[in-house]
Symmetry: C2
């Protein structure tokens, strides 16, 4: 399994992470084991665990960093399992979405099983504040996912809603991965704030980059057809700006959810013609800058640098 780590120092930690994860999610119920095996071996980039580890190390190491890393990844994995269903995604991480193999039912329940393991991890840390923080992030996650669905159904598009969605479905959990380390380490409040801000802005940049690539990327690097968000009725920064500039044309395409073969290409061309693609790239860069700026409140360290590298990557990430 290939994990693209930001620093080689993380390799041993991430290997332990994989072993612990495998043990944690093991069940004697065969259908659960099949799905979890899929999930564990599928791997993914483990971005959230890396954030937790780097935040911990930037503070000199905190207790229960492993449990934090696992807990944030489990919450993320659950949303993938519950989202495979939601999104009707053809592929996820290059694998056939779990639900196509075993049915929606088992997919949802396997997600619930992961949440039970998340609760277990939290109980190990002994930190009630962390339980509270996870409750808030889990709420934001569910609310923003439903909001995204609601907007797709009702078509009431706004930048405000988009901001809430990228924050709720991605940035809040990345903020938790970083801020959680500060809580576990009883870090001073300015360090805690710095890590929270870093996670939040990095997470927003991350989701905006994902959204950008979904329309402006290539199927080859993405590993899936482009235009998925348009087909699912999901708003992104690009389509929101196009709605301002070419309201009629854009609205028609969004309403028919990119059903015409040419639709996605038309949106791409409009985006380039109006300079909207560059605008969004700049907006992403703005979040990266804020994330990096937040780090300056932390003492210099290789881990702080690694967080900076991680954030700066978002400006040019292609997958």
């Amino acid at each position: 399994m290939s994990v693209k780590v930001v620093t080689s120092d993380l390799e041993p930690l991430l290997n332990t992470f994989e072993e612990y994860l495998r043990e944690l999610v093991r069940s004697d119920v065969e259908f659960i084991r099949l799905i979890e095996d899929d999930l564990v071996t599928a791997g993914g980039k483990r971005v959230r665990p890396q954030l937790a580890f780097l935040a911990s190390r930037a503070l000199g190491g905190v207790p229960y960093e492993m449990e934090l890393a696992l807990a944030v990844e489990l919450l993320h994995s659950t949303t993938l399992l519950h989202d495979d269903l939601v999104d009707d995604a053809e592929t996820r991480r290059g694998h056939v979405a779990a639900f196509r193999k075993y049915g929606n039912a088992v997919s949802v329940l396997a997600g619930d099983y992961l949440l039970s393991r998340l609760l277990y991890l939290l109980s190990i840390t002994g930190r009630m504040e962390l339980v509270y923080m996870f409750s808030e992030v889990a709420r934001e996650l569910a609310e923003s996912e439903v909001l995204q669905f609601q907007i797709a159904a009702l078509g009431d598009y706004s930048f405000e809603a988009y901001e809430r969605i990228i924050t709720g479905k991605t940035a809040s959990l990345m903020r938790l991965a970083c801020e959680g380390a500060a809580v576990l380490g009883n870090a001073p409040s300015e360090w805690r704030q710095a890590l929270a801000d870093f996670g939040l802005f990095y997470g927003q940049a991350f989701q905006m980059r994902d959204d950008y690539l979904d329309l402006m990327g290539t199927p080859e690097t993405l590993g899936k057809p482009i235009g998925g968000d348009v087909r699912e009725g999901k708003l992104t920064a690009i389509t929101l700006r196009l709605l301002d500039i070419y309201p009629q044309e854009t609205l028609e395409i969004l309403h028919r959810r990119g059903a015409d073969p040419e639709d996605i290409e038309i949106l791409r061309k409009l985006a380039v013609a109006a300079g909207v693609d560059r605008e969004v790239v700049q907006s992403i860069q703005g979040r990266i800058d804020r994330a990096v700026a937040a780090l300056s409140a932390l003492p210099p360290s290789p881990s702080r640098e690694a967080l900076e590298v991680l954030a700066k990557r978002e400006a040019s990430r292609l997958t």
Copy 2:
């Protein structure tokens, strides 16, 4: 909303419960609000909160009894929301299942939202042991639901699996409702054990009674067509015994999932002819007896009596 309470002393508590629940699950996201409104107003019998309150009162009252009652009900409600999908249930509590109105996606996510509120409640209690206990019960719930699905898919029926399923999907949560009160009240270990045993055996009797009524009840009292379990490939104590006595006939009906119009009636007649219905009623009575016996370790009180009444009702419950 009519709540059939076991003692009028519970009425004010349950009214407060309903208000707190309504406030707890309120969201500014419209689609979540619609589902939660449905769930809150649909109400249900609130059996689990009643267990928590009575267990608390049998111990002279414990701190955070309300949060415990809400937490167990939220976990239950989540499984209903995730189960509507799983079971493809036509009706649930007499309402149109949530997912038929808003789609599977929102149903699953609204369940996740409830779980976030459960985490919040746990953080309020400040008791890590309770977080751990919820993690174990949530695990049992997910595992037994998947096991039920797996058995339906593979057809490997056994009494052992049935025991695990009724315990995991129902009894473990009822045990938690009772034992959780003992934990919150720092009760002596024999009282804690008594409440845990009561919840467990009561819960098993409860689920077995549900299963019994699903085949032997009437559509009028049940409020839904009988034979649903057979159509979903779910085993019950009755069909398991019929598999022993009339293997070929029963297996054929189970394999075609009661698709013939006469199938359900045939199973009912076989059950009566072989005395299997009475056997199962006796088995339920056995669990009730064990539940009631467990209570004797507790000091006598009106709440202990109310728990006894609740358990004894299972022998003749019709809805």
